[in-house]
């Protein structure tokens, strides 16, 4: 099919796919790119839509958005090691600045330390907990949508999310200053 001027109007199915793409592709790409980088995200978005057209959307099990994010997350499994390596690469925290009066430098280092701490935590999470957490945080899905996307009970999705967040917040020692 072509979108050049003068061509006949695309068939309804093609128009529908275009609408679906315009609706969901930006969010899907953003979610995937944050997990595995832009280059692979592009391939994964294309694979997600292709896989979607070869399977069947069941509207009784969730929204189109949840379904597409579920497919994308399943496809991400092939990139698991790459994803974890990416987090590990960002997990190296910068050292403290030498000059305690340099507030800009201190703020920058602290921000980098937060990124490093989160990356370290993400790398250490079990894959199923990381999926739920990031579908919520970066995919923008509700926990109930995540359950539909991953084909797990809603309670399972919620407990995975809870465990992931608890792990990322840090040790639950009583001497912390939360």
């Amino acid at each position: 099919m072509s979108d050049e001027a003068g061509d006949p109007a695309p068939a309804p199915a093609a128009r529908a796919l275009g609408v679906l793409f315009d609706t969901h592709a930006p969010g899907l790409h953003r979610y995937l790119a944050r997990r595995v980088g832009s280059h692979d995200a592009e391939d994964l978005v294309a694979e997600t839509f292709l896989a979607a057209t070869r399977s069947r959307f069941d509207p009784w099990r969730g929204s189109e958005r949840a379904w597409l994010f579920g497919i994308a997350t399943n496809l991400l499994r092939r990139h698991l090691r790459q994803e974890v390596r990416g987090y590990a690469a960002q997990a190296r925290a910068p050292r403290e600045v030498a000059d305690p009066a340099d507030e800009v430098a201190i703020a920058r280092v602290h921000a980098a330390q937060r990124v490093a701490r989160l990356a370290c935590g993400l790398a250490a999470l079990p894959a199923d907990e990381r999926d739920v957490l990031l579908l919520v945080a970066w995919g923008g899905l509700e926990p109930s949508e995540v359950a539909a996307a991953l084909g797990v009970p809603a309670g399972t999705a919620r407990s995975r999310l809870h465990r992931a967040r608890r792990a990322l917040r840090g040790p639950t020692g009583e001497d912390d200053d939360a």
Partner: protein, 330 residues
């Protein structure tokens, strides 16, 4: 204390997640390239099979909109239906616990069928022999709805649907007579399962998958008015459509087949195969509830509704009338 050893608050964690690789995302050129790649790869058939609702919604012209948007339409239609029911029966009972065959039905009875009572059947089976009564120009499709509580309603629907419709209540119904062009007794019809326009009926897909998906997106996803019973909502929407207008045979067949796609809606036959039942159960107010739409399998026409509650429900019969306000002979 070093960052690594301090417990983050929930807000701090959210902020850290929001800021992590926040600049990742596609630029316009990437999206254009991806769009060409995606739409150029997937075949039409695949898209149609995978996303029937979206295809149907984009491909089918919808009827003229009713004022006020979808929420308003739902509420207005529900209010109109409730008003009729309350006026007719004096209680909020659209459905009946009856189950008796329609009295004095102008429609020929179904042919004898083997004893299959209670055996589950595909819902599509109830529409397999769907047919329309022959209504000539100048004639009217006639519907009589008898409520278990006593009152009854008669309706005359003109061959030309834009002509004058007549809704007449029995003397004990207090509804009197309502006449309106296009059957708009309770306000404009439009894209509504409760107050459908002819354009809406014509635009509904006849493909059961597309219809099921459309039901889902139109009715179930919004949840109203049964957020805890989406299957019930789907069946009620179909019943509302059948109750509120004359639904052509091809659409009735598609609707029943679409209900096969709705988990929780079960069909079976009764009365030696003469009555089809589409039923759904759900929990509400601490009790198990049940709603059933009754269909004549010989014609695919709605033949009543029931809940099992004593004194509630209806039976529906159909015929062809030669004049407005005059019931068919016999």
């Amino acid at each position: 204390m070093p960052e690594r050893q301090r417990i983050w608050s929930e807000n701090e964690l959210d902020a850290a997640l929001a800021g992590f690789r926040a600049d990742a995302g596609p630029d316009a050129a990437t999206l254009r390239r991806l769009r060409r790649r995606v739409t150029g790869t997937a075949g039409d058939a695949g898209v149609r099979d995978a996303f029937p609702a979206v295809v149907a919604e984009r491909a089918v012209p919808r009827g003229r909109p009713a004022p006020g948007g979808r929420a308003f339409r739902w509420l207005a239609a529900a209010a109109a239906a409730a008003a009729v029911v309350a006026t007719v029966s004096g209680v909020a009972a659209v459905t009946s616990g009856g189950g008796a065959a329609p009295a004095a039905s102008p429609v020929p009875a179904a042919p004898p069928a083997p004893p299959v009572d209670g055996v589950p059947v595909p819902a599509a089976e109830l529409g397999r022999h769907a047919s329309d009564l022959e209504v000539a120009p100048g004639q009217y499709l006639y519907r009589r709805t008898e409520y278990a509580a006593g009152p009854f309603l008669q309706e005359w629907i003109p061959h030309d649907r834009s002509g004058t419709w007549l809704l007449r209540g029995s003397p004990d119904s207090e509804i009197g007579e309502l006449r309106s062009a296009s059957g708009e007794y309770f306000g404009p019809r439009g894209d509504s399962w409760q107050q459908p326009s002819q354009e809406f009926l014509a635009g509904l897909p006849r493909d059961p998958d597309a219809l099921a998906a459309l039901l889902q997106s139109d009715v179930v996803r919004r949840g109203a008015p049964y957020p805890d019973a989406p299957d019930h909502a789907a069946l009620v929407a179909v019943a509302s459509l059948l109750r509120s207008t004359a639904v052509p045979a091809d659409l009735r067949a598609a609707l029943y087949a679409a209900l096969d796609r709705v988990p929780g809606i079960l069909a079976h036959l009764e009365d030696g195969g003469r009555r089809g039942v589409l039923g759904v159960e759900w929990d509400a107010d601490g009790a198990r509830q049940r709603y059933e739409l009754l269909v004549d399998p010989a014609t695919g026409r709605m033949s009543g509704e029931r809940t099992g509650a004593p004194g509630s429900g209806s039976t529906v019969s159909w015929g062809v009338a030669d004049a407005l306000g005059v019931p068919p002979a016999g």
